[in-house]
């Protein structure tokens, strides 16, 4: 009983009763007329909002029971949280990769690698997008789930790479070959046509996973990831790029135009880490952040990637369920970490680096660490979207919407024997976004149980509490250069469709709606005039810095909005000004909402970086 809050217990109980009652009514052969007579059905065909029939009767989608989250009950905190397996390079690829696409050999790519000679790949990776079978709950509680994953796993394998060094920026360059071996049958949802975005690498755009650059079954696609800092071919050529533009926590995921939500929900997402000579992965060197080790051994690996998502399971079949006709956003009632529902992590009494990623589809999190007796444990936030802040900032929670990442340091040194929970306290009832209310300690959803019962191990990582005042990490690039253009993007809803500046996504073959001049600075204004909807706005390829939010400077403490980011959490009635430098590479690029359901329903603008640029201020 100690494992589950009263609120959760009540919810689970109501769900179970409601599911069984509905089943019973159907089994008993009641017809619509009978239900109407009994006062259990409205004239519109909806079950009366009555406790015991629909677990969430007063939902915003009109009290219709079928597609509200009503997963079968599962027992939380039984299974170990998996550590993501690290993908190993392969000695060679067959056929050998080339700068030009190889359509005759089955490659889907249509554009030449623009930086293949400049940064020749030093290592090769290969993954296959294919069906897999996994258990997401303790054995026997849910049936084995058929997923689509990279190498048949979800989340996909962790890619761990390293930037090049001064004088040899090409040392970080890799080539990832992806093969589409998905089945033609989908088990109810999913489109076996894919494109994979590395979120948010400084990647030549033909390798970036543009939504229209998809590959069909049987094809492959070579992604060239030079893993270079922005500025490498422009402002910071001599330095091999601007190290202040380093990114450390990335992820890759399907980006198929119009079908990203179902494909990522079905499993097509994985994690990606970049180290360098400062953020080394070794706690004895550089910034001395907790060691990555081999990523597996609990005695040497203290840098742990956690992929969060929420899902729904069919109450009759126990299988993963996707709401096919939802255009507003999808919430799950089961919370997964690294592919398991409510797992357990055992840690030693020392400092850890956790990398938190929310893959959606539509939920926002505000994560707290719940301690004994409903206490809240503070921790150190060190990054925003994988980009290190100026120094660790002590916080009691971090908020992240879909696709945002937060790296934190949690100090369990004095916690031997204690139990904690990662708890999401941000209230959210539907895909529109959170209400804005933050629940009390112990009132939220417990996502992960953390037990400090591991052996004592040495801790040579930096103690953020002892870092002297001032910049500890890289510091931020300046934002003083005058922008070539200021553009406004208004994110809104009209006739149930998602629009940017009143326009729909258009089509893959349409001319770009905005053209950015290579090696220029732009200022963008993001607007949300709605009090009902929130949108995680994502720009590919470059990180931005926020200049202002509703006229105020971004926050450096609390819910930190300062720093380089690639997702702007556009909350209710918000206007933000952000600053971009677009450097080095050219090609087609999307700006879109990362509530993947909104994204699939046209909340995207397709643009291009080229050597001309345009002057459209409201693309």
């Amino acid at each position: 009983m100690a494992y589950i809050s009263k609120r959760n217990l009540r919810k689970e109980k109501e769900k179970q009763i409601a599911a069984d009652n509905r089943r019973e009514l159907i089994a008993a052969g009641f017809k619509r007329r009978d239900l109407l007579k009994m006062g259990l059905l409205t004239s519109a065909g909806m079950l009366i909002p009555k406790k015991g029939l629909s677990a969430r009767p007063l939902n915003t989608r009109g009290a219709f029971d079928d597609d509200e989250p009503n997963s079968p009950p599962t027992t939380p905190f039984q299974e170990l949280m998996p550590r993501l397996p690290v993908l190993q390079p392969v000695p060679s690829l067959n056929p050998a990769p080339t700068a030009d696409p190889q359509p005759l050999l089955g490659e889907a790519r249509t554009e030449r690698h623009q930086a293949f000679q400049l940064f020749p790949p030093q290592r090769f990776y290969e993954m296959t997008q294919q069906e897999g079978t996994v258990l997401m709950a303790p054995a026997g509680e849910l049936p084995p789930q058929t997923i689509w994953g990279f190498n048949g796993t979800t989340p996909g394998p962790l890619i761990v790479e390293r930037y090049g060094v001064l004088g040899r920026p090409q040392d970080g360059s890799v080539l990832l070959r992806l093969r589409n071996n998905l089945p033609s049958t989908n088990g109810g949802f999913g489109l076996p046509s894919v494109t994979t975005h590395l979120h948010n690498g400084h990647t030549p755009l033909e390798s970036d996973g543009f939504p229209c650059f998809f590959m069909e079954r049987g094809q492959f696609y070579d992604h060239h990831y030079p893993n270079v800092y922005a500025g490498v071919l422009s402002t910071h050529q001599a330095q091999g790029g601007d190290i202040r533009e380093a990114m450390h926590t990335l992820w890759y995921h399907d980006h198929r135009i119009d079908h990203t939500a179902e494909n990522t929900y079905k499993g097509l997402a994985g994690a990606y880490i970049l180290f360098n000579e400062r953020d080394t992965g070794n706690e004895n060197t550089g910034f001395r952040l907790p060691s990555f080790g081999d990523g597996q051994n609990p005695l040497t690996s203290f840098d742990i990637y956690m992929v969060f998502n929420d899902k729904v399971f069919d109450d009759r079949t126990g299988l993963l369920k996707f709401d096919l006709f939802n255009t507003d956003g999808i919430l799950g009632d089961k919370f997964l970490v690294n592919g398991k529902i409510n797992p357990v992590l055992h840690v030693s009494p020392r400092r850890y680096r956790f990398r938190w990623l929310n893959t959606g589809p539509s939920r926002f999190y505000q994560m707290f660490i719940l301690g004994p007796n409903n206490t809240t444990k503070s921790f150190w936030q060190i990054s925003n979207d994988g980009n290190l802040l100026e120094r660790p900032v002590q916080v009691t929670s971090s908020r992240f919407s879909v696709a945002e990442r937060v790296d934190v340091i949690v100090d369990f040194t004095n916690d031997a024997g204690k139990t904690f929970y990662l708890e999401n306290r941000l209230e959210q009832h539907d895909g529109r976004g959170p209400t804005g209310d933050v629940l009390g300690a112990g009132q939220g959803d417990k996502i992960l149980k953390i037990v400090v019962d591991g052996p004592q191990v040495a801790d040579n990582s930096v103690n953020p509490a002892n870092i002297p005042a001032g910049v500890y990490f890289y510091g931020f690039p300046d934002t003083n250069e005058a922008p070539r253009i200021t553009r406004t993007f208004r994110f809104e809803r009209g006739n149930g469709e998602w629009q940017v500046n009143g326009q729909l996504v258009g089509g893959c073959d349409r001319p770009p709606r905005f053209q950015i001049k290579r090696n220029s600075v732009e200022k963008w204004i993001f607007q949300n005039n709605s009090g009902g909807w929130q949108h995680p706005i994502h720009m590919h390829f470059e990180e931005f810095q926020t200049l202002s939010i509703n006229g105020n400077a971004p926050a450096a403490t609390g819910l930190i909005t300062k720093g380089r980011k690639d997702v702007f959490r556009l909350e209710h009635n918000m206007e933000a000004v952000v600053y971009f430098r677009f450097r080095d590479f050219i090609g087609r690029i999307p700006l879109h909402c990362h509530n993947v359901v909104h994204e699939d329903h046209a909340m995207m603008v397709l643009g291009e970086i080229n050597d001309v640029g345009d002057n459209r201020t409201n693309p």
Partner: protein, 220 residues
């Protein structure tokens, strides 16, 4: 009702981790498997396509699943005959879409426009609307009882989460939903998208033999 109460008790126990053996015992007593073996296609039918009897603009009575959806590629939208707003551009788009899709409409591709005002839109009104737009076979305008049309609207997700917005029929949802029923591939796109782009998105759920070998980048 005693049965319902007993289930409530079992569910309460099931939610507590220590009660797993009790739950297993209770299930054994009921002698039914914990989960049902139902195909995903059948679950989609159960969830979204109630087999309600609708009336088409040509006067035919047709069952929603059996006659209209099963084994077909389908395109859905919502409209009403006197709509002054988004219906007009969408209907114009769909007329062009029907031209692009040619004689496949009525063979394996079917277009269905469901009225939001079944009281006004009787067969005569729908027939007039279809003739006015020179609609060809394979595209049906459908009406039915107020209750049934509301059920279909909700099942297909044409509901705004804001009840006030949802009430305003004149400003209704303009999304097309489309899918290939046997292949279980479903999607949606704005009804105001360009007709050639709508046709392109439809090709993604087409039968494998008809799918374009390469549509990378739109291909036009």
């Amino acid at each position: 009702m005693t049965d319902l109460k007993r289930r409530g008790l079992v569910a309460t126990l099931a939610a507590a981790p220590f009660a797993a053996p009790l739950l297993a015992g209770a299930q054994a007593l009921e002698s039914k498997p914990k989960f049902e073996q139902i195909s995903s296609r059948e679950r989609i039918r159960q969830r979204y396509f109630p087999n309600l009897v609708l009336t088409a603009h040509d006067g035919r009575k047709l069952k929603f699943y059996d006659d209209l959806v099963k084994d077909k590629i389908v395109i859905f939208n919502m409209f009403y005959a006197q709509c002054q707003g988004i219906c007009s551009p969408i209907t114009r788009n769909l007329v062009k879409l029907q031209q692009i899709l040619g004689d496949r409409v009525g063979k394996d591709i079917f277009m269905y426009s469901f009225t939001l005002k079944p009281k006004e839109d009787n067969v005569k009104a729908l027939k007039h609307y279809a003739e006015m737009h020179k609609v060809k076979p394979g595209w049906l305008f459908l009406t039915g009882s107020v209750e049934d049309m509301e059920t279909i609207r909700r099942k297909l997700g044409y509901v705004d989460p804001d009840p006030q917005v949802d009430k305003d029929v004149s400003n209704h949802i303009g999304v097309l939903k489309y899918g290939n029923e046997p292949l279980e591939r479903w999607g949606g796109c704005p009804g105001r998208s360009a007709p050639d782009w709508i046709a392109e998105t439809l090709s993604w759920v087409d039968w494998p033999k008809n799918q374009k070998a390469k549509v990378n980048g739109g291909g036009k």
